[in-house]
Amino acid sequence: MMGGSSTKKNMFSRLVPLLTSLARRGLAGWFIAIGLIMVIAIVVMTMLAPWISPHDPSAIEMGPLLSPPSSQFPFGTNKLGQDMLSRVISGGGIMIQVALLSVVICMAGGIPIGLLSSYTGGILDRILCLIMDSIYAFPGLVLAIAIALMLGRGVVNMALSIAVVYVPSYFRVIRSQVLSIKEMAYVEAANAIGAKGHTILSRYILPNVIPSIIVVATVNFADAILTAAGLTFIGLGVSVDIPDWGYDLTVGRTLLTTGVWWVIAFPGIMVVLLALGFTLMGEGLSELWNPRLEQ
């Protein structure tokens, strides 16, 4: 998903029919469409940052220090005189990377473990359930902090600590799905035609579990973003050279007591919007694929 405007035109041309068909699917479709638009808008903004941000986000003393939003600097400036608008436009990169990486790691680990454990059952399943439940019982942020403390700073480490916290969610969802799918006649039929265990898992069970996985993934994203912000907040984020919402949130928090609200507010809103976008998508997909009983 790099660069050129031609790729973007391609994406848009496929996007419009997708959105219109979603809008036709009722409220759930709207949720997904809106969430998708929000997420894509923010991601695109971050990617286009070098071209669209009015000033260099890292350049200091662009204007008066700590000046409130004005016509020259619509989002104000921070302690170093950096333009907040430019920082907000460019600051999403780290967060998005961390969230994306954590989801990928989570899936890579959680899906096979979940599938294998629930399909084979027995002692292995019992042990894994115990482990997963224990991790799940921990408040997510606390656990992430603990792991981040052990691993140190950096995008990958942040992603890893978030991933570990989230694996149990995939595990649980996959497990409950697999347990019910295992009993279905089409799995029996697969057995009857002679399919081996791994074939049944990969071609009969996994494809039917994927919708739930995707829903968990969207919530995973939202949570990862907030957790990444949290980790950065307490100083376990990445280094300070690159503009980063998490960092601005941290700095902005101490400034808040002095009445300087704009340094925390705007990055904060962006974080919330990004997380909201994913959550809306997750809600919409969940409603679409598992509609509520009223209907």
Binding site: R24, R25, G26, E294, Q295
Partner: protein, 332 residues
């Protein structure tokens, strides 16, 4: 054509009932222009396969068609009163007290955490608040005797009873308020054949004893032929034939009815040659133009594809929706 029947002369008169489901993908006409009458001590059998609209018809009589369904037109007259126009509160009084419904699956219709006796007390006291708990229980015991369950079982929970007993409890609950009409929707599908026979006998006995009318909704043509006085055959939301059970059997007219009759294995025949109806029921979102049945009909004529046939009365009280009979009408 059907004469506009005098609403007061029958216990239940339904005229031109049309029910639609307004789904996201479009409108589905589940029932179109259904008309029939029913008197006391009469059993009406409504028979049809999947998509025929028979369950929707039954539910519409007590106005419990699930969302996104709605009754679009037509009249439902119970003892001279038009219940289609009733508001919700009035309708709540009708349900259970004047028209009762026995659902298909007794397991999900009974509250698993309530004892059977509580089901009765709650039901009776909701509709007749002046009745005391003791009186309600007395009535429940009488009903248990009617349906043939031992009185002690009234203190059980639903899961402690067998399928057949649960269905009998449902019937007893349906009788509790002395309704004029009982609608039984596939009352025996979940039961074994021996119990099935008992339950159906029971329904008819109670019908006679209490002077009620009974509507049997089922896909099983054998059951309605043996146990109802008159039968409505439904296909894709339309009534395609309406006749007494004797007439329907001895002079089956609509090609669908014929096909249905010929596809049922009859245990009393030796070397029976079964026939099938080619094709499958239509997609109600995109039904065929003209007669709904023409794609599967071996007698289809050009006019069948253009416009839907009306109901022709071929003899007194035998109506059939088919152009094959357009010249045989018995119009007054």
């Amino acid at each position: 054509m059907i004469e506009q029947t005098n609403a007061e002369s029958h216990l239940l008169t339904v005229n031109g009932l049309t029910v639609e489901y307004w789904t996201r993908r479009g409108k589905i006409r589940a029932v179109e222009n259904a008309s029939f009458t029913l008197d006391r001590r009469e059993t009406l059998g409504v028979v049809g396969e999947s998509g025929s609209g028979k369950s929707t018809l039954g539910l519409s009589l007590i106005k419990l068609v699930p969302y996104p369904g709605r009754i679009v037109s037509g009249d439902i007259n119970l003892e001279g009163q038009n219940i289609r126009r009733m508001k919700d509160e009035e309708m709540r009084d009708v349900r259970g007290r004047r028209i009762s419904y026995v659902f298909q699956d007794p397991m999900t219709s009974l509250n698993p955490v309530e004892k059977i006796k509580d089901h009765f007390v709650e039901l009776i006291q909701t509709h007749e608040p002046k009745v005391s708990k003791t009186q309600a229980l007395e009535r429940a015991n009488q009903l248990f005797r009617d349906v043939g369950i031992q009185e002690e079982r009234i203190s059980d929970y639903p899961h402690q009873l067998s399928g057949g007993m649960r269905q009998r409890v449902m019937i007893a609950l349906a009788l509790a308020l002395n309704p004029s009409v009982i609608i039984a929707d596939e009352p025996t599908t979940a039961l074994d054949v021996v119990v099935q026979a008992k339950i159906l006998d029971l329904l008819n006995t109670l019908r006679d004893r209490y002077g009620m009318a009974l509507i049997l909704i089922t896909h099983d043509l054998s059951i309605v032929l043996q146990r109802s006085d008159k039968i409505i055959v439904m296909y894709a939301g339309r009534i395609v034939e309406y006749a007494s059970s004797v007439d329907l059997y001895s002079s089956t007219q609509h090609p669908y009815s014929q096909g249905l009759l010929n596809s049922i294995p009859n245990i009393e025949l030796i070397d029976q040659k079964l026939e099938a109806i080619e094709g499958s029921p239509p997609d109600l979102l995109n039904p065929p133009k003209g007669c709904r049945f023409w794609p599967r009909c071996s007698f289809a004529m050009p006019e069948c594809r253009i416009e839907e046939p009306p109901l022709f009365e071929t003899k007194k009280n035998h109506l059939v929706r088919c152009y094959l009979y357009k010249d045989e009408t018995n119009d007054q």
